[in-house]
Structures are given as structure tokens and as C-alpha cells.
């Protein structure tokens, strides 16, 4: 089934969907690919991508991983929300047209929360690393 379009896995839509393709999944880890166009909302006139985008790339890559796992388990992709960030270091600049790979690793998944380590790379260069906490909505929970 891989690679698979991220649009089939996550609720984000253009222009906020930054991840294009879920490339690989192994044992709680995943890699997603992004190529942001010149017209991306986070690109300036020179094609430079705002550094905050790295945080969203990690979050959406995890969302794509979760969406994929839900599909593999016969469930519709669930919802999740970013609730925390720790030690996100931004060391490089991404540009429109760059092939960005975002790697995520699930550090912990407890009580509806997931702690995820992520890294955004361009070729051999690491652009950002950090740890995110996401809250995963239980679709079977009551209430509205």
C-alpha cells in the first residue's frame, strides 16, 4: 500500500496540508515526503519556507502514520491535535521545491496521548528536530 498519498490519511487540506506522501512505516516509525510549492502559504517571495513549518511537518507526518495504521486496522483515520512541543531545534532553511523527508518515531503512546520524536531533512542535511505531544481523539468516546 505504500507509498500512499497523505491526503488519504489526514484531515488537513490545502493550503495547510504540508505532507504529500507517506513513504514508509516500520514499527512505530514512519517517513513522509513533502515538496512545498512556490505558492505555499509559508513561502516568501524568494521561496524560503517559514521555519515554523518544520513543526507542522512533524505533526502531520505523525498524523499520516496514525491514519495509515487506522486504515490497516480497518478503522477510519482518527483525529489528533498537537498539544505540546519540546526542544524543537531549527538548524536549516527549507525552500520551495526542496524534497523534504520527515521521519517520526513514536516514543510513547499512553492514555490517548502520543509522544513523537521527529526530524526534517533535506538530503543529508537535518533542518529541524524535536519532540511533539499529540492528543488522539477516541472516536468511540461519547459526547459531541
Amino acid at each position: 500500500m505504500l507509498p500512499i498519498s497523505a491526503e488519504r490519511l489526514i484531515p488537513h487540506r490545502a493550503p495547510m496540508r504540508l505532507v504529500d506522501t507517506l513513504v514508509s512505516v516500520t514499527d512505530g516509525c514512519a517517513v513522509a515526503e513533502s515538496v512545498l510549492p512556490r505558492s505555499a502559504m509559508m513561502a516568501d517571495g524568494e521561496g524560503k519556507i517559514d521555519e515554523v513549518a518544520c513543526m507542522e511537518l512533524i505533526a502531520q507526518s505523525y498524523a499520516a502514520f496514525r491514519g495509515y495504521m487506522d486504515r490497516m486496522n480497518g478503522k477510519p483515520p482518527g483525529e489528533g491535535f498537537l498539544v505540546g512541543v519540546r526542544n524543537l531545534e531549527i538548524t536549516g532553511t527549507a525552500y520551495a521545491g526542496d524534497r523534504l523527508l520527515t521521519s517520526i518515531r513514536t516514543v510513547a503512546a499512553v492514555g490517548g496521548f502520543a509522544v513523537v520524536e521527529g526530524a526534517v531533512t533535506r538530503g543529508d542535511e537535518t533542518l529541524a528536530t524535536g519532540t511533539l505531544t499529540l492528543w488522539l481523539v477516541d472516536p468511540d468516546a461519547g459526547g459531541g
Partner: protein, 128 residues
Amino acid sequence: MSALREGIDASKLGDLAGTGTETGARRYRFGPGFIGFSGHFPGNPILPAIVQIRAVVSLAEAESGKTLRLAAVRSAKFLTPIRPDEDVWIRYRRRVDSGMDICDATLSVAEKTVAAFQLELAEGETPR
């Protein structure tokens, strides 16, 4: 300037309020047409976390008059979703910690803290 930053700037209300050279506060209202709500999420608009952080950096830039970049997010907590048309107060205080330029910021809606960050800022552009 990116469309995102333009949209954030267009969402400012009132003047920058500062009590000194290292603090600032400003009110924002992100309307339903704000670009950051587009696709996040269809039928359930929530202000993206990256918009919240970007707004803090832009506010610090406006107060300092210098180009600033986000070097790191030491910590961030997103406590409550921010919806369209809510009045959002962004307040920050900058300080130096071990030679690093630290920006402590909070976002609040109806006097309730909805997000809190500790950011590391640097002057100039991120290295290519």
C-alpha cells in the same frame, strides 16, 4: 513576506502595547477567511499551532524593529483550540538565558490562557 505572515499581520487589532523594550502585547482576531484556517480543518476551523508561534515571533519583530527568526521551541503547550473570530491576546517577555534570547509568551482568549510558549529567537535569517 509569505501569505501566512501577511494574514497574521492583517489580523492585528489596535496598537502594540509594551511596557518596555523587551515586552509586548497585542490583540488579534483571526476571521473565518484567515488563510491559516483553510484546510485546518474543513468544517472544524482551528487556529494552527504554527500560526500561534509565528504570530509571537512577528510581534517580537515589530517591537524590536529587527529581523528575528525562530531558532528553537524550548517548550509549547496548546491548551484550548482557538476558533475564528475570537479575540486573542498575545503577550510576551524577552530575556537572556545563558546567552540565548528567550521569549516567554502566552496567548489568551477571554482572559483564559489558551497557549504558552518558551521560544528561542535569533537575529537574522536561518542559515541556508
